[in-house]
Symmetry: C2
Amino acid sequence: MKSTWQREIQVVNEALDKYLPPATTFPPEIHRAVRYSVFAGGKRLRPLLNLAAAAVFGVPQQHALPTACALEMIHTYSLIHDDLPALDNDDFRRGRPANHKVFGEAVAILAGDALLTLAFEIIATKAPEFFPAQTVVSLQQEVSKAAGMAGMIGGQVVDIISEGKPLKAETLEYIHRHKTGALFTCCVRCGAIMGQATAEELNTLTSFAQKIGLAFQIVDDILDIVGKEEQLGKKTGSDITKQKMTYPALYGVQKAQIKADALLAEAFAAVEQFGDRAVKLKQLAHLLVKRQK
Amino acid sequence: MKSTWQREIQVVNEALDKYLPPATTFPPEIHRAVRYSVFAGGKRLRPLLNLAAAAVFGVPQQHALPTACALEMIHTYSLIHDDLPALDNDDFRRGRPANHKVFGEAVAILAGDALLTLAFEIIATKAPEFFPAQTVVSLQQEVSKAAGMAGMIGGQVVDIISEGKPLKAETLEYIHRHKTGALFTCCVRCGAIMGQATAEELNTLTSFAQKIGLAFQIVDDILDIVGKEEQLGKKTGSDITKQKMTYPALYGVQKAQIKADALLAEAFAAVEQFGDRAVKLKQLAHLLVKRQK
């Protein structure tokens, strides 16, 4: 992945560095904690997805960057809070100690809060340089809904309260669609909104994103089972230990892989209408679903 | 306070009830937790402050309500997270068990996250019914900055990391100005923004709000020392037990009261220019600083 997308990831990282206050800003404890997790080696899939969707409509990269970075901040906040002892209780993330292991639980909770808040600030203060106020308001609507109780947080809640219980397939699908899917879809939709997409185009891309998001989650769960510990940088099989239900756990790795591939094919078919304009988006989707780590 | 402001509090409560999804919404665990803390008997000081500031400019109550409620949601989220074992570790809030004591730490953390997110959603989705998009963007800028690392979260961080240490007066002032003051000031500024205030009017009201916010915090700390346990509904003197530095602890109750009264007088003088239009704002400020509980 690095060879193809390295430059774009670099641009996202530079923008994140610009949008986050310097680590020396008072009080430095929170800025160090926030930067620790934002620059912990994330693959920037959500910003890349947002930029690729915006590119379908010819939105310049620079214009999409505030929103792309805001989406990465929301993703990072969700990881920090997810890793807390009261939630998933993960001591490691991407091979490094989790935020709360380094900065303590109190600062980790506040660092998550800070990133969520900063995401909305960046959209509110930086996006207006490139888009009319009405578009900025639409972006805020999208992001707040996707990150909220009807989206990502809803998925996290169901995930948490389902731990250790036998899980129905529909509950598993709810968790996937909300915990990961909602923000994935939001990344694509925000790209379309910045591009002044029509309602029909927005629907098409929403469908594309939902399929990719679900496929991505399935692949994530497969990798969690078959992946090697050193590749993923976290204890493999941890979801199984905690009796979390996943697609491969429910249907087996092979059937889960077939499902992921089918979703990818459906997603490709959905964006056929955009022709060459969706090349980048399709390349990225392929990488997300075919990744080995 | 009830006799004068009861009707207005009722209006705020009804709006909050309307903006929060019903407790039966899936997944009900999070909606019950969110509603538990939002309807835990809060005095709605921040919404009232916002409505009173908006009233200076003739903004109808109905138009200001989405923002007023969003500010109360942010206040409530900060209380839920503050009470967590990793932060202030308070088992009680307003005489009732804290959110995490009823719903568990995981759901409490997510309920706080949900309220913060919903605050931005309500402004993004409801305020546009009454204000141009540019005004809505300005509101988002104000709220995100006030709630973030340069505002409320900054204050919380310094408060947490200062516990048990000898505190300089300037650090105490930083905590006050940020932890409570930033959101207080934001309430007033958002009222002015909705009223299309001039830059000068905004400055005047900012100064007013900063003084009232600081006075409010000092009175809060005085009440914590001298108040009766049953009046406040929480263990009095708890800040002292935890070696938190406060104004009255640093200067004594009497000098702290003189400081609060002086700030109130300065605040009144600042808004003299608005004449009768600021009557409500002044009445509210008087109540905030002269309250006995």
